[in-house]
């Protein structure tokens, strides 16, 4: 983006995020509420960086048990087996279906990690007021937002499996704690992506 472009902040104006009404803020620190719809006005999303950081850190914390704890406990007459995401990948690979193993590995292990890393990277660059590669960064942000909704696939699969495979006493599948953490990772990452204010990417170049 070109520097010196006219922005709302430069004009001392703020647009409401829900109804889009342009208004003058009371003060820069506390812009007040939208006179039309009553929504709290923010020049930038309130505390966006801090919140995003909090969510990302929470997601990171959850990411560890999500991978360590079993996501699925399958009870058969013969045995009880605990499966973590990674053991599932290993099992798939060992049984010869390496494309499936790759899909699971990418979708369930690498993508959440990549999303978290991407958000962390965006936050760091914003905080360091970096003016480089702003277009690349917004593209990265869009990808993160887009991918987010597909990340719950694993959780859905497990939910379906658990509901369908209840052949007591021959076989039954129960969800493990891991799946809760996995869902938490996905949800927290999505919220974090939502909380992040992409406008802040250009803030530094406007000053």
């Amino acid at each position: 983006m070109r520097a010196g472009v006219l922005t709302g902040i430069r004009l001392g104006l703020v647009s409401c995020e829900s109804c889009g009404l342009l208004s003058r803020p009371l003060r820069v620190a506390e812009p007040g509420h939208c006179p039309r719809c009553g929504e709290e006005l923010e020049l930038r999303r309130h505390n966006a960086i801090q919140r995003t950081w909090a969510l990302i850190i929470a997601a990171f914390i959850c990411y560890i048990p999500a991978n360590v704890l079993p996501v699925m406990v399958s009870n058969t007459l013969v045995s009880t087996e605990d499966d973590t995401i990674l053991s599932g990948v290993v099992l798939l690979y060992e049984t010869g279906s390496w494309p499936l193993a790759l899909i699971v590995l990418i979708a369930s292990v690498m993508i959440p990690l990549a999303k978290l890393s991407a958000l962390a990277y965006l936050l760091i660059t914003v905080q360091r007021r970096s003016i480089e590669g702003q277009n690349d960064r917004i593209r990265l942000y869009r990808i993160v937002e887009f991918v987010g909704r597909w990340s719950m696939l694993d959780v859905f699969v497990i939910a379906f499996t658990v509901a369908l495979i209840q052949l007591q006493p021959l076989m039954s599948v129960e969800p493990g704690y891991g799946v809760l953490f996995f869902a938490a990772v996905v949800v927290l990452t999505m919220i974090a992506a939502e909380t992040f204010d992409p406008r802040s990417i250009w803030d530094s170049s406007n000053e």
Partner: protein, 521 residues
């Protein structure tokens, strides 16, 4: 900025007073996440029970991560590792036990691999056909925790918690008893054999049995155990006898017990009390006689066919049995002869008698009974070996009254006192036969010496007589011969005349009435 009307027309925002927080509430999320994650980690660590190592001979059907440790069919742990010992002779199975079950893992806890088993008392562990083998435990009573164990090869047949009592039986041999063989009380299956072992000196066998509650109270100090193994065929002096316990025990053997002649309520025997195991029921029942009087018999004859346990009879009534048969004597003088120890059961003796004060008789002491025994001996009471069966040649000791026996005084100072004997009928017969033969021999000898020369002389005389007979009677010109010839000629002529008569009579039968008629021309 500028005083642009448009901008001035923009309404001013409404001020709403609000506290600002330095830190966003959002930080609660990572804190909660961290607390939950740490909480789960802590719970995982805390719930981790002890890890134990069990050494097995072989790890049949044991797989790391798939085999469980189960108590009462409840999963209490899981095998985490299976590997060989350093010398490759055994298998070390590492299992992590749930914290909740850690109390079960004590010093004397026993581990075994539960698998399908076909044993004497049935089939067990069929469930493992479906679920796979698992490690069973037999919880010990100790309270000391322990983490290294040696696994059993077979599961203990009786759980330590099963109410009942264990007893130890001593026997000469194991018979057909095995672990799991049933224990019968009045033909009820009330327990089983839980183990056996050779005695340390190798001369006997100790058998451990378990009697289930409430039947264990029937085992008292007077209880007798005997082998109810299979079919008990005994061919003794008292003939052929066949006994069986139950159809099952015929197949797999077993032990039975009973309290013979119990007197009121007797205290049950203590745990791990030691009992004798008798060969059969008769043997077990016999030993219960209260008044047992030992005696010694010395025979002059061979005792082949007399075995320990052979009956002792008085005029045909069984009153005791042989307890030992052996040789005794002086090695220096070479005077070695068989000695037979017997016992007389007064109870049986008295039982056969009519109108007798049993209690009084039984209550008499050995001293008091001595005159009776002496009186019997005075009247000719003698022990004798008799053949119980001609087929088997088994002998038994029979007391009979021999009227003509010489008087014997019993030496009651000896213990046990000796009772007089007479040679057996068989030996008697043998002796008599021998004396007959001896006499026959003497007879023959005398005949040889005295009769034969006499006979020779007689024979010579006889020959002279015969010669004279020859000349007077048999010679060609002997007068007797001539007379004889003439007589024969006379007879011949007479016979011819008779023939002529009969012929003419045939022709003219009426000639006998009318006389001879002239023949018609």
């Amino acid at each position: 900025m500028t005083d642009h009307t448009d901008i001035n027309n923009v309404p001013e925002a409404v001020a709403v007073p609000k506290k600002r927080m330095r830190f966003s509430v959002v930080w609660i999320i990572p804190i909660v996440a961290a607390i939950v994650a740490v909480g789960i980690a802590v719970q995982q660590i805390l719930s981790k029970g002890p890890t134990i190592n069990i050494v097995f001979k072989e790890a049949e059907g044991i797989e790391a991560g798939k085999t469980f440790v189960k108590h009462k069919d409840v999963k209490i742990g899981q095998v985490t590792k299976v590997k060989l010992t350093k010398d490759f002779t055994h298998v070390v199975v590492t299992a992590s036990i749930d914290k909740s079950a850690a109390g079960l893992i004590v010093e004397d806890t026993k581990f075994y691999i539960e698998q399908p088993r076909v044993s004497l008392s049935g089939i067990s562990g069929l469930g493992t056909l479906m679920s796979g083998n698992y490690i069973g435990i037999e919880v010990g009573k100790s309270t000391k925790a322990h983490y290294e164990f040696i696994g059993l090869e077979v599961p203990p047949p009786i759980s330590i918690e099963e109410p009942g009592r264990r007893f130890i039986l001593e026997a000469d041999n194991l018979g057909s008893v095995g672990i799991g063989s049933p224990l019968y009380y009045r033909r009820l299956n009330v327990g089983q054999v839980i183990g056996y072992d050779l005695a340390e000196n190798g001369r006997s066998v100790t058998i451990k049995v378990f009697v289930k509650a409430p039947y264990d109270k029937y085992v008292t100090a007077d209880t007798r155990f005997w082998q109810a193994s299979g079919v008990d065929v005994s061919l003794g002096a008292d003939g052929l006898s066949v006994r069986t316990q139950s159809a099952l025990s015929v197949l797999i053997g077993g032990i039975a017990f009973e309290t013979f002649g119990s007197f009121g309520d007797v205290k049950p025997a203590a745990e791990k009390a030691v009992f004798n195991l008798y060969g059969n029921r008769t043997e077990a029942a016999a030993k219960i006689e209260e008044v047992v009087t030992p005696y010694v018999l010395r025979f002059k004859e061979g005792l082949r066919g007399l075995s320990v346990g052979a009956p002792v009879t008085y005029l045909g009534f069984p009153i005791g049995e042989v307890t030992s048969v052996r040789l005794e004597g002086d090695m220096m003088t070479g005077d070695i002869h068989p000695r037979v120890d017997i016992v007389i059961y007064l109870g049986r003796f008295v039982r056969h008698m009519k109108k007798v004060d049993t209690a009084k008789e039984m209550g008499m002491s050995l001293q008091e009974r001595r005159p009776t025994v002496q009186r019997l001996v005075d009247r000719g009471l003698r022990a004798q070996l008799k053949s119980g069966s001609l087929v088997t040649g088994q002998l038994y000791v029979a007391f009979d009254l021999h009227k003509d026996a010489p008087r014997v005084k019993i030496d009651f100072t000896k213990s046990p006192p000796e009772l007089p004997t007479v040679p057996s009928g068989l030996a008697d017969l043998q002796e008599k036969l021998q004396s007959i033969l001896a006499r026959l021999e003497g007879l023959l000898k005398r005949a040889d010496e005295e009769v034969v020369p006499e006979a020779k002389k007689t024979l010579e005389e006889l020959r002279g007589v015969l010669k004279s007979v020859d000349t007077t009677v048999v010679g060609k010109d002997a007068p007797m011969q001539q007379d004889l010839r003439e007589t024969l000629q006379e007879i011949n002529r007479a016979a011819q005349a008779v023939r002529g008569l009969t012929e003419s009579l045939e022709r003219n039968p009426d000639a006998i009435i009318r006389g001879k008629t002239q023949e018609k021309p």
